[in-house]
């Protein structure tokens, strides 16, 4: 696994973009200006970026209600995302979708999804089309530990296996589905074995370690592109915020998040690794941090200043023709 200086810079930049984006949304949400349900991805950045760095223009991803990180990973415009979250006319979805439905099909991002388990069947379809049209494309289905028990997800795994579709099933196990522990909800407690039960090879990785995710994702996606059929990855980490904004997280033992933040943070871990290895320098990373903070400041300011959708938008975009 060779990661060039550019790759590393890119990885760090994108992970940091997610982090700053999410922390800022968290802060702004608390002021009451962001409407609806918002689920933050902070703490899970290594997954979106470690996986999406393997992808290109012919590839697709399906996402979840916790979709901001995947959007950024797949190259969605950050300004358009923020405007969407604020419900603005210029948002990625004209303000009609919001946080739970951000999408940019032109970027291969088939949507955050308000339905747990909604994405994996869609990913199978995108993969089937890629295979049939011989585009060389791969589809990644990101889904949570909770979604791993949903029939739609399980059916999709079987379907992909039977047709040996180029789908990468990425289980983002952040320990909880809402307030329910994944240790409890996943019968058998062995996701990799479950995937094998559908004929899909996979492995488990530590999601705090970008390099581990990157390596595993690369190997899996290489196998898929070589015609090896669907692959599975179980990524373990934690989320830093509540299930959604407003969740007091009393179901978590005191200190759980602090401990993860202090000792297992994927960004700190990345920084330590690249600086101690002499691959990137602290001041370059600091500069990236400053740039991103500025960028996100600007997206928030722009989003706040942006116009809401016009009344006439209510009834457009239902059909192509009707």
């Amino acid at each position: 696994m060779q990661l060039s200086r550019d790759d590393l810079t890119n990885a760090y930049t994108k992970m940091r973009t997610i982090r700053v984006f999410e922390e800022r949304v968290h802060k702004e949400f608390a002021t009451g200006q962001i409407p609806g349900f918002v689920h933050l991805y902070a703490g899970e950045e290594a997954s979106a970026i470690g996986v999406c760095m393997q992808l290109n223009g012919v590839d697709y991803i399906t996402s979840t209600h916790r979709g901001h990180g995947h959007c950024i990973g797949k190259g969605c415009d950050v300004g358009g995302m923020m405007k969407e979250i604020y419900g603005r006319q210029d948002g990625l979805c004209k303000g009609k979708g919001g946080s739970m439905h951000i999408a940019d099909v032109s970027k291969g991002m088939l949507g955050a999804n308000g339905i747990v388990g909604g994405g994996p069947p869609l990913a199978c379809g995108a993969a089937l089309a890629a295979k049939q049209r011989k585009t060389g494309g791969v589809a990644v289905a990101f889904f949570g530990d909770g979604a791993f028990n949903q029939g739609t997800t399980l059916e999709a795994m079987n379907f992909a296996s039977v047709y040996q579709l180029p789908v990468f099933f990425v289980l983002e196990d952040n320990g909880y589905a809402e307030s329910t522990s994944s240790d409890w909800s996943i019968g058998g407690h062995n996701p990799v074995l479950r995937a094998r039960g559908f004929g899909i090879p996979g492995e488990r990785v530590d999601g705090h370690d970008f390099f581990a995710v990157y390596r595993a994702a690369k190997e899996a996606i290489d196998r898929i592109r070589e015609g090896g059929g669907p692959q599975f990855l179980h990524i373990e980490f934690t989320r830093y915020y509540g299930h959604f904004e407003g969740d007091a997280m009393t179901y978590r033992p005191p200190g759980e998040v602090t401990e993860e933040r202090n000792f297992l943070d994927c960004l700190s871990f990345f920084r330590a690794r690249v600086t101690s290895g002499g691959l990137l320098e602290n001041n370059a990373l600091d500069q990236i941090d400053r740039n991103i903070t500025q960028l996100i400041d600007k997206t928030v300011a722009d989003a706040k200043a942006a116009a809401p959708p016009q009344a006439s938008e209510l009834t457009t975009d239902v059909y192509q023709s009707y």
Binding site: G97, G98, T180, T315
Partner: protein, 336 residues
């Protein structure tokens, strides 16, 4: 009697029925919360907190948190009902019925008929519905017309905390599968609600307000909006009857027809998508059965035929509101 929120009224109803009847159990995702986790149990008490406090009282033998697998646990509720329990299962948002619809529509709804009357399936499915919280297209639908369409199901839609408590208790005692709709934007509404247990029969409309000029039939949250419209109209000396059917299946057609016989004018307010919804259902029933009484076209106040939009500016246009109801009622009353 004391002021209680919709949430509290539901909580009290479920608590009192669980106390009274040991066969009542609860199921659902995070219905208590903290399952398998190291922190607080009963951490959620369902997503909007209506079942909070039941776990400490009744324990995990009565309260079943579930993995995210609606087909499995909604189906299990039906299976448990056939084997002697009375499950109250939460389908968190009614929008999710697409992942478990079969267990509702083809299984529990049809057992009794398919089995020649030899099965009883006393299940309540509580579910959140409705727009207003900027929850966007997949968390804001009404969908009760779909369940009203299906023979074998009962459909209950309370319009206030008082109604919520009495109807929930009755629904739990009912021997047929009941889909119980809770409007998420009404959870904080408060009302005088008796402390003791009481029931409101299914299939009996409530006439919230009586007036001789026009009949308004409204569903769920639209009842409150219609009463507000009626109050405003009263100032213009337009006297409205406001009928809350409470249940769309069975539907209390008699009360509606009686009122239309008197007023000759009907407006129906339904938050559901406009095609094949409850407004069309009631309109058609009246157009068929009370033709001679009608002095004006039956008007329906509904959202447009679009998914529910996210942005507040659009959602506020989407949901019928008192001003729109008032305007339509005025037109109907003025019609000659």
């Amino acid at each position: 009697m004391s002021k209680k929120s919709f949430r509290q009224a539901l909580n009290e109803a479920m608590r009192q029925e669980m106390e009274r009847d040991p066969t009542v159990i609860m199921m659902g995702e995070d219905i208590a919360g903290g399952m398998g986790a190291k922190g607080e149990q009963d951490a959620w008490g369902d997503v909007l907190g209506a079942s909070k406090g039941l776990l400490p009282k009744f324990g995990r033998e009565r309260i079943y948190d579930t993995p995210i697998s609606e087909s499995a646990f909604i189906g299990a509720a039906a299976g448990a009902a056939i084997n002697g329990l009375r499950p109250v299962a939460q389908l968190m948002f009614v929008d999710f019925f697409g992942v478990c619809g079969d267990q509702i529509i083809n299984q529990m709804a049809k057992f009794r008929y398919m089995f020649g009357g030899k099965a009883t399936t006393p299940v309540v499915i509580r579910t959140l519905f409705g727009a207003g919280l900027r929850a966007a297209s997949q968390h804001s639908q009404c969908l009760y017309p779909v369940f009203t369409h299906i023979p074998g199901l009962k459909v209950v839609i309370p319009s206030s905390p008082y109604e919520a408590k009495g109807l929930m208790i009755q629904s739990i005692r009912d021997d047929d599968p009941v889909i119980f709709f809770e409007h998420k934007a009404m959870y904080a509404d408060t009302d005088e609600v008796p402390d003791e247990s009481y029931t409101i029969p299914l299939g009996k409309a409530n006439v919230s307000r009586r007036g001789t000029d026009v009949t308004i039939v409204a569903i769920g949250r639209m009842v409150k909006f219609s009463i507000q419209a009626a109050e405003a109209l009263a100032k213009e000396n337009i006297k409205c009857t406001v009928i809350d059917p409470r249940t769309t299946s069975p539907l209390d057609t008699a009360t509606i027809l009686e009122s239309v016989a008197q007023t000759g004018r009907l407006v129906i307010v339904d938050e559901a998508s406009p095609r094949c919804n409850v407004a069309t259902d009631i309109s058609a029933m009246v157009a068929q059965s009370a033709f001679k009484s009608l002095k004006a076209p039956i008007r329906m106040v509904t959202p447009p035929h679009t998914p529910v939009p996210f942005a507040g500016e659009l959602e506020d246009l989407y949901v019928p509101n008192p001003a729109r109801i008032q305007a339509v009622v005025s037109e109907v009353v003025r019609y000659h």
